[in-house]
Symmetry: C2
Subunit: 347 residues, 2 copies
């Protein structure tokens, strides 16, 4: 199976043994040109919305012919000569990198609005990726959007045939454009909120601290807490997952529960809260403030009474699309999206 697609001069029913030349198959530009009584070049120009001028009458004839034949250009053949395919690769480590379907959906429709199509690459490991990309259409994309924190910019640039890679994983060198969240304002605001509510002691639940991204985030929390006079009594390491949030709850419960818990991911905050609920099903949880990070849509809907930190997803996607369309004047300077504090329903 996975039969090749129908080609020119080849009907859907592949019963003909005769050299398929004029079968009622997919029409080519030659068919259009012949029907319109012009040369292939003129037909091509008339249809390609090109700058080159074509006489109105011929253009009309060509368009009529194309419509009558139901012609649509073979983008592969076009690609081979124009050397562009209107494809954008989205590279993820794991699909969950696109932590939020909302974001993903916006991105997809933005790319389509640009007249491009999205090809999705799951990059499980670096070596695997080379084969994967080199032997597939992905190699020929016009741009690559990198969410996977797996590879750095040079690696990715070497992997695709395009030079336009947009780093969205925090790992930018000065050469490829990047969009990053400015986490400082959101974190400061969250900590300030806690301080305002009289919190004196807190715990921090982190992700894999190996990533430079996460290290910086942790540093921001530490600085903000110090500044606000809140004692950071415990740091627990998780891995951004719901399950690791549950584990963190167990760890924290072994000591005095802090007045506030900051998690560097909403999923961890959710797990932590659910674990508390499970542990004390009939007992109203002791008053503590819970802060997440990411602004997952589920949290925004009020499913979990936690406060969170996030950026405007629409703006984030808009910046990415801008870069795709116009490039970035100065790739040395990553584009920055500010984060905000989002008070929860019952933070």
């Amino acid at each position: 199976m996975l039969a090749p697609c129908r080609r020119a001069g080849e009907g859907a029913t592949t019963l003909a043994m005769t050299p398929p030349k004029k079968s009622p198959g997919v029409p080519t530009i030659s068919d259009v040109a012949a029907l319109a009584g012009v040369s292939r070049a003129v037909a091509s120009r008339a249809l390609s919305s090109e700058s080159r001028p074509v006489s109105p009458e011929k253009r009309a004839r060509v368009e009529a012919a194309a419509a009558r034949l139901g012609y649509s250009p073979n983008v592969v053949a076009r690609g081979l000569s124009r050397n562009t395919f209107d494809l954008v690769a989205v590279v993820v480590n794991h699909i969950h990198d696109l932590s939020d379907l909302d974001l993903f959906d916006r991105l997809l429709s933005g790319i389509q609005a640009l007249g491009k199509q999205m090809i999705l690459i799951r990059m499980a490991s670096a070596e695997h990726a080379v084969d994967l990309v080199r032997h597939g259409m992905a190699y020929h994309v016009d741009a690559a959007l990198v969410f996977s924190d797996f590879a750095d910019a040079p690696t990715i640039r070497g992997l695709f045939r395009t030079d336009l890679v947009v780093m969205l994983n925090g790992r930018h060198d000065g050469l490829s454009p990047a969009v990053v969240a400015d986490e400082a304002p959101g974190i400061r605001a969250a900590v300030a909120d806690a301080a305002k509510k009289g919190v004196k002691s807190a715990a921090l639940v982190t992700g894999r601290s190996s990533s430079p991204n996460e290290q910086q985030r942790i540093a921001l929390y530490q600085a903000a807490l110090r500044e606000a006079g809140i004692k950071l009594q415990r740091v627990v390491q998780g891995d951004y997952s719901y399950a690791s949030g549950r584990a963190a709850a167990a760890t924290l419960a072994a000591e005095t529960w802090p007045e506030a818990v900051f998690c560097t991911a909403d999923a961890m905050a959710m797990g932590l809260l659910d674990m508390r609920r499970t542990d004390f099903p009939d007992h109203h949880p002791g008053r503590f403030r819970l802060y997440g990070f990411d602004n997952l849509s589920l949290v925004g809907l009020g499913a979990y009474p936690i406060a969170t930190i996030g950026f405007d997803k629409a703006e984030y996607v808009a910046r990415i699309i801008d870069i795709l369309r116009d490039g970035l004047a100065d790739p040395a300077q990553p584009l920055t999206i500010p984060t905000h504090f989002i008070p929860g329903t019952t933070a």
Copy 2:
């Protein structure tokens, strides 16, 4: 921006004005053949893991040359002549059709394991779709997996150049293969579970009842409830969303709360439960059984104390991949995946 990708004989730095002929650009098979001292045809055969025999020594020379040059075939050119691109389109109405990232992730890695790449199409409207698909690489895919309930099989077949479309949206005609969940066993088991626990009255929260899929599901619930002697005291219509679950809770709260609530989507059950929690924050919710549908991974993790109905996602994806690889012997008969009842932590 969105500059065309580098092509053969074209270095990354586009400073040369000379006709790029032997620049240190992307190597072609001609370069390999020249370096190996053989003809292009031999090089092609040696590299294409073809059945045609090539003398071992020449093969070795070709392989060495390819390795030294870092040659990788241009899949576009190959596609143009072989007429297949190892691309699989995944058609969604809205990205949320892939209700679960787990499922999506499995699918993506399954497709990649097949040596194919996934191109993602968001089909907002039918007319829009034609242009979108026809003018992009998507038109040339080897297969299309249709999750969007937007279009029926004939429409989709007319949209792509391939005849292999796999209907995963429940809208199968007899011509294209389809994979559907057999919802009866899961629903019967869920209702039986309620009956066993002494439930006498229940409500049903449904999705858009316009879809034939949903209508059948509703009928299955009705039949099972009747059979189990449980009175269906109320049917509330939602739209599968978390928000509509909250709304349903409000509607139900206006009357006597039923002993059990069955929702045709986990997201609705989650919303319904959270709404109850919000309404009675300090009050242990009256004893009622809550049943969802979909087996979202969040539910499986224990985040929500609801029972649910679902199928084995690994098996589901495996069936799809099977079809991609081998086709389906009898497309008239949709492939069926049984659903199971999954008792919740505190159903």
